[in-house]
Amino acid sequence: MNAYLGIDIGSISTKGVIIDEENHILASSYLWTKGNPIEAVKQLIKELKKQVCTKNLSIIGVGTTGSARKLIGTMLNANIIKNEITAHAVGTLSLYPDVKTIFEIGGQDSKIILIENGIVVDYAMNTLCAAGTGAFLSSQATRLGVPVEEFGKIALTSKNPTKIAARCTVFAESDLVHKAQMGYQKADIIAGLCKSVVANYLNNVGKGKKIKAPIIFQGGVSKNIGVKKAFEEEVGCEVIVDQNGHLMGALGIAILSKKAPIKTNFQFSITEDQFETRGIECNRCSNHCEIICVSKNKKLIDAWGNRCSNGDIMSKQR
């Protein structure tokens, strides 16, 4: 049976799915990237293999998305490498064809995607600011001594959420410390934090966008029911969180790899290969481009990052 592999390598977590021709998820996995995308992906592939080893699958399409998409795409010889905005839109549309708005809050970035009649018409992504992303929430959880997984539940117990400055992580953090020292309840502070994430998101990424129902909320932070509730209060309608919400990017890129004209041949044995990356600074002109070289079993397979033909290592090799 033909199958397709989609991998979404984010800054915090790595997600992977294997789908069949009808877009059914045959296997899925979710683990921490821990700053080492290559290892994380090898681990991920091993786990996926365990789930499908009884079935006789031949994987003819591989897609990668997320911030390490280029590196992993090269490593796995992917037939499609796409940005996470498109991947999320495609993945979500395959499950919810009539969705109008997608909120996505991940570890490092947050985005909003607006859809009309199944077509992406507008999107935005946070630019300079990390306020209201998963990384901020998890660092504040550590500060408060609460596991981030329980954040949402604790937030729901609060009857009187504290107001926390939402403009910027630095302000939010100092405001949070201030509120804690003043003697506010921990649950109230956590609920306030969830609210501030939402306020920040809507003011920053969602600024000037027409938000219409049905709304789907995904990304790691969507697992936090406190944030989901705060969103519902703010936009005034139901916000859907899919139980596979965290896999949407991987699902989307798997679907895109199915549609891609070229096919690839993927073997699970890739986990045995040695991959190495090396960053070098090109000194051939004054731009000093940082060039990334990827080698597989000590053989250079790709290099990128050059701005001009001087640093075009690959074409010189051929």
């Binding site: 911030s67 796409k82 940005n83 996470e84 905005i85 498109t86 077509i119 992406v120 018409v121 507008d122 999107y123 992504m125 630019t127 300079l128 000037g208 002109c285 004054s286 731009n287 000093h288 701005r307 033909s309």
Partner: protein, 356 residues
């Protein structure tokens, strides 16, 4: 003994060629251009600039420092319509505080360049300058700029579809080199037509219905490719035809000539000019919609006030016209990956909209 004067000026795309040409013809002094903009330039510039000043200031300052290190001692800055108008004075002060010795001249002291003010500035730079030479060479330089811009327009439309990689780039380099050696109006025009023909003969593979995108926004980031992280090159590599309005010909005379006409065109949205190129960009957004372009990219340096004022109006224009638009705000801290991700998503969106 008085030390020899060496004139220099900051970069703006390829325009250092006509400026150097003009200064070489007018004065007997040595003229050097700043070293090409690199990461080092912007690092130097940001180090000595106020943090919240917009990015062109930092690039210019970096250029000045690098060129001073190379031995320049007479600096020329342009000046202009927005905050840029005050940059010359601030930069002069910063550089003097750093301990450099130089003379500093600003071309535009008021809002407009007039032949008279230009003459006075040049007379200050070199008292021996002959007025006849100026009358001959300044229009010649403007003509050269016009020809350059004309060719650039052609390049932007076609470079994404070139058959042989770097063919447009190399030919342009050859053309600019040839322009600097022209002797007068006749030889310049001759060279222009030869190269125009050469460009038209370059092999391209361009589909009839290729994606077309317009770039609007602040002038420096539009014209200096380094400051927009080679946005146009990136678009070309996606096989997109690019239209850009801002160039020096536009700043020198087109802007003034078209102001009234443009205001009439967008009277539904905007009734008066809003500083720098704000109004013009609203006009351009509307124009691109009416011309059936696929998308608009709006670029500006972080904190560019006239453009911030224009953005809500542009947003409204694009909403009414159902035009996809993205905004980029460049700073010395901008991540290149972030720009690429957004551009890629924008490209996918345009493709999806077309139903491919």
């Amino acid at each position: 003994m008085k030390e020899e004067r060496v004139i220099s000026f900051p970069h703006l795309g390829d325009y250092y060629i006509p400026i150097k040409f003009l200064l070489n013809k007018l004065t007997k002094y040595k003229v050097i251009e700043s070293p090409p903009i690199t990461k080092k330039t912007i690092d130097l510039g940001s180090k000595y600039s106020p943090d919240f000043v917009c990015i062109p200031f930092k690039y210019n300052l970096g250029n000045f420092i690098e060129t001073l290190e190379n031995g320049a001692n007479v600096l020329i800055q342009a000046g202009g319509g927005c905050r840029y108008g005050y940059y010359a004075e601030v930069q002069e002060k910063i550089l003097k505080d750093l301990g450099y010795h130089f003379e500093f001249y600003t071309l535009v002291n008021s809002d407009r360049i007039t032949p008279r003010s230009l003459y006075q500035t040049f007379k200050k730079i070199d008292p021996k300058i002959s007025i006849w030479k100026m009358i001959y060479y300044i229009p010649l330089t403007i003509l050269m700029i016009r020809y350059m811009d004309h060719i650039d327009d052609f390049i932007r439309k076609n470079i994404g579809f070139e058959k042989e990689k770097y063919s447009f780039f190399n030919l342009k380099k050859e053309m600019l080199n040839s322009f600097t050696h022209c002797k007068g109006y006749c030889s310049l025009t001759k060279r222009f037509f030869t190269y125009q023909k050469k460009f038209q003969n370059l092999e391209i593979e361009k589909p009839e219905d290729c994606l077309k995108v317009g770039i609007i926004g602040e002038l420096y980031t539009s014209m200096e490719p380094f400051s927009s992280y080679f946005l146009e090159k990136e678009l070309a590599s996606m096989k997109i035809e690019v239209k850009r309005f801002t160039n020096v010909s536009y700043l020198l005379y087109q802007k003034r000539l078209t102001r009234k006409k443009n205001l009439r065109y967008i009277e539904k949205y905007c009734k008066y000019t809003i500083g720098a190129d704000g109004m013009d960009n609203i006009y351009r957004a509307k124009y691109l919609i009416d011309q059936g372009y696929d998308g608009i990219i709006h670029i500006k340096p972080f904190g560019c006030t006239p453009e911030i004022g224009a953005i809500p109006i542009i947003r409204k224009v694009c909403q009414d016209g159902k035009m996809p638009i993205i905004y980029f705000s460049f700073d010395s801290q901008t991540s290149e990956t972030g720009i690429k991700t957004r551009l890629e998503a924008f490209y996918d969106m345009l493709k999806m909209k077309r139903g491919e």
